[in-house]
């Protein structure tokens, strides 16, 4: 029987790609609080060798926390055989000039506008505007059934200080894959 070299050599390709894109860590699968804690703690460990300002690391950590909990609370989970169920993605890269926090998760088509409006709003504001929006939104917010305060994107935008990039790819008629990239300048 032929050795399965061809089949496993993709791992080296994968490794090469991850190096090329300076990926610190990547996780794919269903998200939970336990996964959130693990991803945070693994990233924190790898941060200990990064020669970057503590304040910057903390911003990255905060963004990750909100982004991961956003997925936990809002990823589309269904019980049928749909391709889109529980296939969320988290990735963090460290380039020379910035950290990139990238997430992907399936959502229902009907919430696209809600997400889009939230991100477009925070992208349209400067730091002072974001601060005021956060204060006002927090005063008026209530904790939702899934345990969110509706402040995640505002906080992410404040900590990032850069614009949030996003995209929606159709999976099928009702399900879209939502990808988002948040950066923190080093």
């Amino acid at each position: 029987m032929e050795p399965a070299t061809q089949n496993i050599s993709f791992l080296y390709e994968f490794y090469r790609l991850m190096k090329q894109h300076q990926v610190i860590m990547m996780y794919e699968g269903e998200f939970s609080q336990e996964i959130t804690k693990s991803v945070l703690s693994m990233t924190e460990n790898s941060f200990s060798t990064e020669k970057v300002d503590e304040a910057i690391k903390k911003k990255v950590y905060n963004i990750m926390m909100e982004a991961l909990q956003n997925i936990c609370k809002h990823e589309f989970k269904n019980t049928d055989e749909s391709i889109a169920s529980g296939e969320s993605l988290f990735m963090i890269s460290s380039t020379d000039k910035e950290y990139q926090i990238i997430t992907g998760n399936a959502i229902e088509k009907k919430i696209i506008d809600t997400i889009k409006n939230k991100i477009d709003l925070v992208n349209s504001l400067d730091q002072e505007g974001l601060k005021n929006l956060y204060k006002e939104a927090r005063l008026n917010s209530t904790i939702s059934a899934v345990g969110g305060a509706g402040l995640g994107f505002i906080d992410i935008a404040r900590k990032s200080a850069n614009k949030i990039s996003y995209h929606f790819n159709p999976v099928n008629e009702n399900i879209y894959y939502f990808t988002q990239m948040v950066t923190v300048t080093k």
Partner: protein
């Protein structure tokens, strides 16, 4: 009145509320999955505290990280303290600790201080 003594974990803070010992502390990380459930003992405790407030009580917050849902709950805690203070005439203070390397945590405290009448003291460590 009841004492709260909750040990911190990697996603929930240490909470020590003890009137007899004069200690009121929330410290560590706060990113619980269900903030309402986690902070219920604190809210219940504040309900009891309102009928027997301790003048001069100093509430200490020494947080490393907190998520946005916790940020909302903390505001509720501060507003409750303000309400108890204004209703009873008792004076409280809030000590907001932040790491020297963490300007965002200091700013978070300042934003709370702007919203409530209970005085804040800022302590760098």
């Amino acid at each position: 009145m009841e004492t709260i003594n909750i040990a911190g974990t990697e996603d929930t803070p240490t909470i020590k509320f003890d009137v007899a010992a004069g200690q009121f502390l929330i410290s560590g990380r706060s990113l619980p999955e269900d903030v309402t459930h986690f902070y219920k003992p604190v809210m219940d405790w504040l309900g009891q505290f309102s009928s027997a407030p301790k003048d001069g009580a100093k509430f200490e917050f020494k947080l490393e990280y907190f998520n946005t849902a916790s940020s909302k709950i903390l505001l509720d805690v501060f507003m409750k303290l303000e309400e108890i203070s204004e209703g009873s005439g008792s004076k409280f203070s809030i000590a907001w600790h932040y790491q020297n390397s963490d300007p965002d945590m200091k700013e978070a405290g300042e934003e709370y201080a702007e919203l409530v009448s209970v005085p804040f003291e800022f302590i760098a460590y």
